[in-house]
């Protein structure tokens, strides 16, 4: 289960260190921006990128983006530090670090971008890099499948998202995000508001793995644990949340916004918590709690109240801290015990004390116990829920239930493996090296620190974030451990009770949940079916169209020709046929009859010689037309070519078998007649109109005086239109060379 990771003392050398330093430097850089942002200023930087489309290379640092940046760069640094040990000596570590760093940068770009299209560029880059990361253990079938699944689902959402962005840009006349926000409420009244919203949400919901698109996220745990810690705690899955938050000022406040986000967020939160409780794999359990967090964040974004916004900002940070810590801890456990199954783990507390303490800190924050930031977050959540104007009970209920479940899961994940009785795993687990412990410990401590000193967060990040979300810093509510005896406190107590009860009974509940969930359609199981269906559809269609049979291709092509011409004739309304036979002489009729007879003989004969002779007759007939209608050069050429054709066919036929009997095929006959008739009809219509002879007259009067030739046809060929002739002889040369090559490439005897 240990991601195929090979611990190797040799480490990863410079490829391991540089990314860490890089990420660390970024973190430090973003830290340096905190004072500016804390003073409620935003920094915008832009250069034109594609001016002709109005697209800028623009970045904006404000509370919201800086919060994300710090989480991304900070956790990124710790994760890279962790990974360098976790995957020490892995032959593909350089790629891993590259992808992870690239992902981090993309993510930073995403949250900093102040241009819709730029944002989308980074959005897709995170999709792409995460695809590479999820499929990191690429030799395993499952990794590949899950990587594709993640890519496909988020990619599909991404395309809808793109459509939404394009419409959004069109509706607001700019691709600048701050520009759109500055336009105020105009967007909400725009006719395209609803389609834009739906399309954007399709993107964010898939990216944030909201129900019902949640199924890819647990599968994405196929990635190495540090990847899970990074992507699925602080970063990628929060990209969707970020975009909803970013668009909050411009798009929130409508009923659609409110209800869509609230209901889907709530459903995701509860549903994911239940799913989480059901898991026995630590990583999977954590993955679903991430979903729960995302649901909760979405739910809050549906609202407009300051409480909700503050709750959002706080919980965003809380969750990132403890979730990353727990993922990393799970990695440590996995690495030292070789398993992530809860049932096989226990008694690790004594063997891995530091890990255990970090786990305990993170888990209590997650469970929402004071004095951790988690508690503050939870309190604010309840406050936010109650502040929901229309349906506080529903929202509060959902939050309560999910929080209780979360508490139980925290126990399952971070308490049981360490503090319940010893379970033999056959290995002797020991503490992970410091590089791997640094992350969980720091993150866990931060959770506690911010709980005790919430003002740090309040000023530095929460207030600016709320400003970004609402436009008014006054909306930000105070972060405090003790807010007095109020409804949130009662709800907190209820949460503890309920949560502990669930934890106590979680094994039984799990069995119940299994039965329940088995009854619900599982999109993950449908995924393979979906892919199979897609393949089947593709195969069916391809069988239908690309039959591999020339006859059907030709039939389709001729059918298109006939149908195209006839239907167009019908559409345009065919002018009356002007069939003028007055100047037809018997000679003409005879020649026409000869040609037709030759053509029909070719058609009906089963004798090759008769067919060739009949072709000769047609050729002769056509030469006769050229003779009668004053084209001696053409006639000569026609006769020469016809002769050569007969000679070539006669040579080739020496090796070919005789013709099969000509059979009659009504379908083919009808089509043939239709094609023939359509050409005839067009030609009759064409010749009924007068012909402009400008060109010919020019040739006639210039041929001798200017081009010194009396044979106008030849002068056209070698002078007026010499380029045609040149191309034509090129065709002849190439035909000869090609045919020669074809004859020579495979000698006789190469036959199968």
């Amino acid at each position: 289960m240990a991601d195929g990771a090979a611990t190797d003392a040799r480490g990863n050398g410079i490829t391991g260190v540089i990314p860490i330093l890089f990420a660390g430097a970024l973190f430090v850089y973003f830290m340096s921006l905190v004072p500016t942002v804390a003073s409620l200023e935003a920094i915008r930087w832009s250069v034109p990128w594609i001016p002709s489309l109005g697209i800028e290379f623009a970045f904006l640092v404000d509370g919201l983006s800086l919060t994300f940046c710090l989480l991304i760069a900070g956790i990124g640094t710790l994760v890279l530090l962790y990974s360098n040990t976790y995957l020490a000596g892995h032959p593909q570590y350089a790629r891993f670090a590259l992808f992870l760093t690239a992902f981090m940068v993309s993510m930073l770009g995403l949250v900093l971008a102040d241009d819709l299209i730029l944002l989308f560029v980074f959005w897709e880059l995170t999709t792409l890099t995460s695809y590479m990361l999820i499929g990191f253990s690429h030799e395993a079938e499952k990794s590949r499948r899950n990587a594709l699944q993640a890519l496909f689902v988020t990619g599909a959402g991404g395309l809808a998202f793109l459509a939404g962005l394009i419409l959004l840009a069109a509706a607001s006349g700019t691709t600048s995000i701050s520009g759109i926000i500055a336009q105020g409420d105009g967007l909400k009244a725009h006719a395209m508001y609803l389609p834009i919203l739906i399309l954007l949400l399709a993107g964010t919901f898939t990216k944030s793995a909201q129900v019902p698109f949640h199924f890819w996220l647990p599968n994405a745990m196929a990635a190495p644990t540090p990847v899970s810690a990074f992507l699925h705690s602080a970063t990628m899955v929060k990209a969707g949340v970020y975009v909803m938050a970013r668009m909050h000022p411009a798009m929130s406040g409508t009923d659609v916004w409110l209800w869509t986000l609230t209901i889907l967020g709530a459903i995701t939160a509860v549903f994911a918590s239940l799913l989480s409780l059901r898991q026995t794999d630590l990583k999977q359990a954590l993955a679903y709690t991430t979903l729960m967090a995302l649901g909760t964040l979405t739910l809050f974004l549906g609202q407009e109240s300051g409480y909700a916004m503050t709750a959002f900002a706080t919980f965003l940070i809380v969750h990132s801290l403890y979730k990353a810590a727990l993922f990393l801890i799970v990695g440590c456990i996995d690495k030292s015990t070789g398993t992530r199954e809860t049932d096989q783990l226990g008694g690790l507390g004594r063997l891995m004390p530091i890990t255990a303490i970090a786990a305990a800190l993170a888990a209590t924050s997650m469970a929402g116990f004071p004095p951790f930031l988690g508690f503050i977050g939870k309190e604010l959540k309840y406050a936010g829920a109650i502040a929901v104007a229309s349906e506080p009970i529903f929202v509060a209920g959902a939050v309560l239930l999910s929080n209780a479940l979360m508490l139980a899961v925290a126990g399952v994940v971070a308490f049981r493996p360490f503090w319940r009785g010893q379970v033999g795993t056959g290995q002797s687990p020991k503490e992970a090296p410091w590089q791997m412990l640094a992350g969980p410990v720091i993150l866990a401590i931060l959770g506690a620190l911010f709980g005790i000193y919430p003002d740090l967060l309040q000023v530095a990040l929460v207030n600016p974030t709320v400003l970004s979300l609402t436009g008014e810093v006054e909306e930000a509510k105070e972060l405090q451990l003790w807010a007095g005896v109020n409804i949130p406190l009662f709800l907190s107590i209820a949460t503890f009770v309920l949560g502990l009860a669930i934890y106590a009974a979680h094994v039984k509940i799990r069995a119940m949940l299994d039965r329940g969930f088995n009854a619900i359609p599982n999109l993950d199981l449908k995924w393979d079916g979906f892919l199979d269906g897609l393949k089947a559809l593709a195969a069916w269609q391809t069988r239908l169209v690309q039959t591999g049979k020339l006859s059907s291709y030709l039939f389709a092509t001729f059918f298109t020709i006939a149908a195209g011409i006839i239907l167009t004739l019908a559409y345009t309304g065919m002018p009356p046929l002007a069939a003028d036979f007055s100047d037809v002489e018997w000679k003409h009729t005879s020649i026409a009859a000869l040609i037709c007879a030759g053509a029909l003989l070719t058609l009906f004969t089963s004798s090759r010689i008769a067919a060739i002779a009949a072709l000769g007759v047609v050729g002769i007939g056509i030469a006769l037309i050229f003779i009668v209608f004053s084209a001696p050069d053409v006639a000569i050429t026609q006769l020469l070519v016809e002769t050569l054709i007969v000679v070539l066919v006669a040579v080739v036929m020496l090796r070919l078998p005789s013709l099969p009997k000509a059979t009659f095929n009504l379908k083919h006959a009808v089509l043939s007649v239709a094609v023939g008739a359509s050409i005839t009809l067009m030609l009759i219509e064409v010749v009924a109109t007068p012909l402009d002879l400008r060109l010919t007259e020019y040739f006639e009067v210039t041929s001798w005086p200017e081009a010194y030739g009396r044979n106008i046809v030849n002068v056209i060929l070698v002078d007026f239109r010499a380029l045609d002739t040149f191309g034509e002889i090129a065709v002849v040369v190439i035909a000869a060379l090609s045919a020669y090559a074809l004859l020579r490439t495979t000698r006789k005897g190469d036959q199968q």
Partner: protein, 498 residues
Amino acid sequence: MSWLLALPIAIPFLTAVATFLTRDMPVGRWLSIIGSAILLAASIVLMNTVLREGVIAGQMGGWAAPFGITLVADLLSAVMVLITAIVAVAVSIYALADVDEKMERLGYHALFNMLIAGVVGAFVTGDLFNLYVWFEVMLIASFGLLVLGGRPEQIDGGVKYVALNLVSTIMFLTGIGLLYGMTGTLNMADLASAVDTADQQLLTVVAVLFMIAFGVKAAVFPLFFWLPASYHTPAFSVSAVFAGLLTKVGVYALLRMFTLVFDHDTAFTHTILLWVAGFTMVVGVLGAAAQSDMRKILSFHIVSQIGYMILGLALLTPLAIVGAVFYLVHHIVVKANLFLIAGVAQRIAGGTELSRIGGLYKSAPFLAVLFVIPAFSLAGFPPLSGFWAKFLLVKATLEIEAWFIAFIALAVGLLTIYSMTKIWAQAFWEPHPDGVEPKLSKLSTRERNAFLIPIAGLAILTVIIGTMPEPFVQFAERSAAQLLDPTPYITAVLGEQP
């Protein structure tokens, strides 16, 4: 002017002659590269001139239009010539390692250069019948290249390719006859005004005939069968050139004729094109999804991508044409490159059938990087060229609120991702079924350079277009403006009209 326009045709012909006469010597292949490089230089000069001076025209033989044959280059023509030259350089370098001596002795280089000449000729000619002639040059050279080597599946593919393209050729010729019979002229600029006095209803019918003829060349639904039936069979250099250039000539011809000449009943003709575009995209991409061979997948994707270009033409808004032009250029670079990469994969991993190969990611990471760029560009991932192409077209469809076709365009994009990741997962990620380690070091240094330099070059071009799209978008905008208002084109060819 006339020389600037004629040289891009003459250079490949001279190269062909030189390579053919030296075919028994090892210098032929180098001559081919040098010739392509000179062509590239000439096409850069041409492009530069067109950028500076607008549409330029040259009267062959000194006979005034519409009497003689006019060569004419607007921005679209110039960029097509330029991109052709780029592909020619890339492929002729690639051929150093891909084309064996036997094929060389049978005239590979001559055929290749004549193919390029035909393609260039088709792009710069301003005369309809001359266009036919260049189509034929291109076609017959492609026949030869397609079957060069003579393996049975090549012959099989060749039969289908030849049969269906011949039908198209004949229809084209018939169409020229009819159009001449209506207007009395062959010069395309002259036709643009001559058709105004012709019977408009009949003109529509003839337009449909042309649409079908060019449609076969462009491989649109339901006329594309020849392409997936044959493109996976020849040498990789050959299929790369085919994939990059040949269908685009059909698209170019459609773009040219259906903006310049057949713009009298767009409500009808361009609606047909819209349907064609939709079906082409979908059928092509589903076709690809059904394949399990790298080259077959890529072949079907050509069809699918052609749909996008046709979509741009069908919408006929400025932005849509911008998208079509951008798409055209992007696709040539990317698709040719993917076929080249498939060749390397075949060489080191032993095939192109996905279930029979693997391990390229692990053993040939550089190749993997080179694959990812065009593959994800094709799939429309930003910031690669394909994203902007798709972005422009989707924007164009959304702007005119053509929801359904926008949905199709996006959904097809998703399925393109699916196909590209299929190749990625099965050829690159998945271990090789025979445990082979497909390393690039299996190739000699010479081979490695010959393979990877052109691939890397095209990949860099893809990235450049993707990350710095502004000049390309601007270019496409100017080009689209020329297409939608052909007055400068007509003036350049015919002089000031009263």
